[in-house]
């Protein structure tokens, strides 16, 4: 198996393989990245940085596209659908 590292999504530890993006960590945990402007749950969609559906807060910085950011050990991810 490939090596793993642990990040936290909404405070809960999630193990992902090294090289995974933050979108993967979210899909492996809550499965939802954000609430839309009308309150619907949204999750990664285009997978390549164009649709902006997968925005989350990473280490205190909001509106990061989780599909374009690699997981790093102990990253704090806030994804609130």
């Amino acid at each position: 198996m490939s090596e793993t590292l642990t990040v936290r999504v909404n405070g809960t530890p999630v193990a992902v393989s090294v090289g995974s993006t933050v979108a993967v960590a979210v899909l492996l945990s809550t499965g939802v990245c954000r609430a839309s402007v009308s309150g619907q749950p949204r999750a990664p969609f285009c997978g390549m940085g164009t649709c902006f559906e997968c925005r989350v807060e990473i280490n205190g910085r909001s509106h990061q596209r989780s599909c374009q950011v690699m997981c790093e050990a102990n990253m704090e991810i806030n994804a609130h659908g």
């Binding site: 492996l28 839309s36 749950p41 990664p44 969609f45 285009c46 509106h63």
Partner: protein, 432 residues
């Protein structure tokens, strides 16, 4: 104001997929100082995501190796948000830079076309290439029940890829009729390699039935996807699944070309024999000049790279190869033309704009893309119409006639730091 870091290159290439890599390698080999800029953390673009480890793309290893030996500077995780004449304003997560260039090569690639249907905003509904990209980025799909739907050769590639990673691909729904696909196979007769590839992809995805003239009509679920309804015009079937991977072929990324004032015709950047756009010194290669796949992108990239570096003889030697590969463009267009039923999937309350949650009915009230933007905020969210704009082109035959800066959402501090480089007036095209 604090001065922003400046870096200067003979040739700047935007986009590190096959076209951009080939362009950067060709220009570097010709002695130019080259910067290759990409939004992603690693070069390869979408098709070579995962890099040299991509087992079914032997070219990936070759070109990534050539790139690393070429001396070109790869600038990762970086977005171009403003284009002057002779300079690009670029932002990464931690820095801001003004990149001065002598020649510019746009290799901005394509994105998937997404069409709205009821439930398409549910979690676990992905693009087709979208799900593949996520799996390449580490998402396990072992045991997941997946429906692959939409149109284009990508569906087969995605189904094959997911199957090999343990997904249970329940079916592949291709909206095109079998007659068009047969004609496509005939048109590819002079590209035996592509036919072999298609056969291999079908073999690798053989456990999933391949339905033609079949398309998704709705995604069902409360908080997330539970099932998909598919139609073949005669009947609608509902299939329970974990993931829907759905894309309707590709549309070129034209934002930067439009911002620079490059002429766009029929949705593609117009280029000369040597891949130069209507703006002198600005070249374009790969999908933005017409969706034609990797082989065409590579040869166009090489021509643009050599031409931008002044090596016209080297560029000329590739023109015949390009002419041969260009035949794929029209073949793809005809084979995977969208059926009119797809324009009727969205109901009046189905969202068209996923950023601003604007329904089809609210957008449809307006006469044009611009009017819809101004009055409903459709296309005004963070994706800047990258998703709903292309859908609206198909649904309402609206045209996107301009691209306004910033062409990518950026920090306010980055916007505030924009300053003209050598020339006083930024050259931004399109109508206001």
């Amino acid at each position: 104001m604090d001065s922003v870091a400046q870096r200067s290159f003979d040739v700047a290439v935007v986009g590190a997929g096959p076209a951009g890599i080939a362009a950067a390698v060709a220009a570097s080999r010709s002695g130019a100082r080259v910067a290759l800029i990409d939004d992603n953390p690693a070069p390869g673009g979408q098709i070579w995501r995962g890099g040299a480890s991509a087992p079914h793309h032997p070219e990936a290893g070759h070109w990534l190796d050539e790139l690393s030996k070429s001396g070109a500077t790869f600038i990762a995780g970086t977005r171009v948000f403003y284009a002057h004449n002779g300079a690009l304003e670029v932002e990464s997560d931690h820095s801001l830079c003004q990149l001065l260039y002598g020649k510019l090569i746009l290799a901005t690639g394509a994105r998937e076309l997404f069409l709205p249907f009821p439930g398409w905003t549910l979690p676990n509904v992905f693009g087709a290439g979208g799900l593949q990209a996520l799996v390449k980025s580490g998402l396990p799909v072992n045991g997941k029940r997946v429906v692959v739907a939409g149109t284009g050769p990508l569906l087969l590639a995605v189904a094959a890829y997911l199957s090999e990673r343990g997904a249970d691909v329940l079916c592949i729904c291709e909206q095109a009729p079998i007659s068009q696909l047969r004609a496509f196979a005939l048109a590819l007769a002079s590209f035996p390699r592509k036919l072999v590839e298609a056969a291999q992809l079908r073999f690798r995805s053989r456990r999933a039935p391949y339905f033609t003239s079949t398309w998704p009509v709705a995604a069902i679920g409360q908080e997330r996807l539970q099932s998909v309804q598919i139609s073949d015009h005669h009947r609608v079937r509902e299939i329970e699944c974990d993931f829907l991977a759905c894309g309707f072929h590709l549309v070129p990324n034209l934002e930067l070309a439009r911002a620079l004032g490059c002429r766009v015709m029929d949705g593609c950047v117009e280029v000369s024999e040597f891949q130069e756009t209507s703006q002198p010194g600005v070249y374009c290669a790969g999908e933005p000049t017409g969706i034609g796949g990797m082989e065409l992108a590579i040869v166009e990239g090489q021509i643009a790279g050599y031409a931008a570096a002044g090596r016209i003889i080297s560029a000329k030697q590739l023109l015949a190869t390009r002419a041969r590969n260009r035949k794929v463009v029209s073949a793809l267009k005809e084979a995977f033309a969208l059926r009119p039923e797809l324009a009727t999937l969205a109901k009046s309350d189905t969202l068209l704009c996923r950023c601003e949650d604007i329904s089809l009915a609210d957008a449809q009230k307006h006469a044009s893309w611009r009017a819809a933007k101004l009055h409903s905020r459709c296309g005004m969210g963070p994706c800047q119409g990258r998703v709903c704009g292309a859908a609206a082109e198909f649904l309402f035959e609206w045209t996107m006639d301009s691209s306004r800066p910033p062409i990518f959402p950026v920090r306010c501090s980055s916007l505030a730091a924009i300053s003209s480089p050598a020339s006083p007036a930024p050259r931004l095209g399109g109508s206001p």
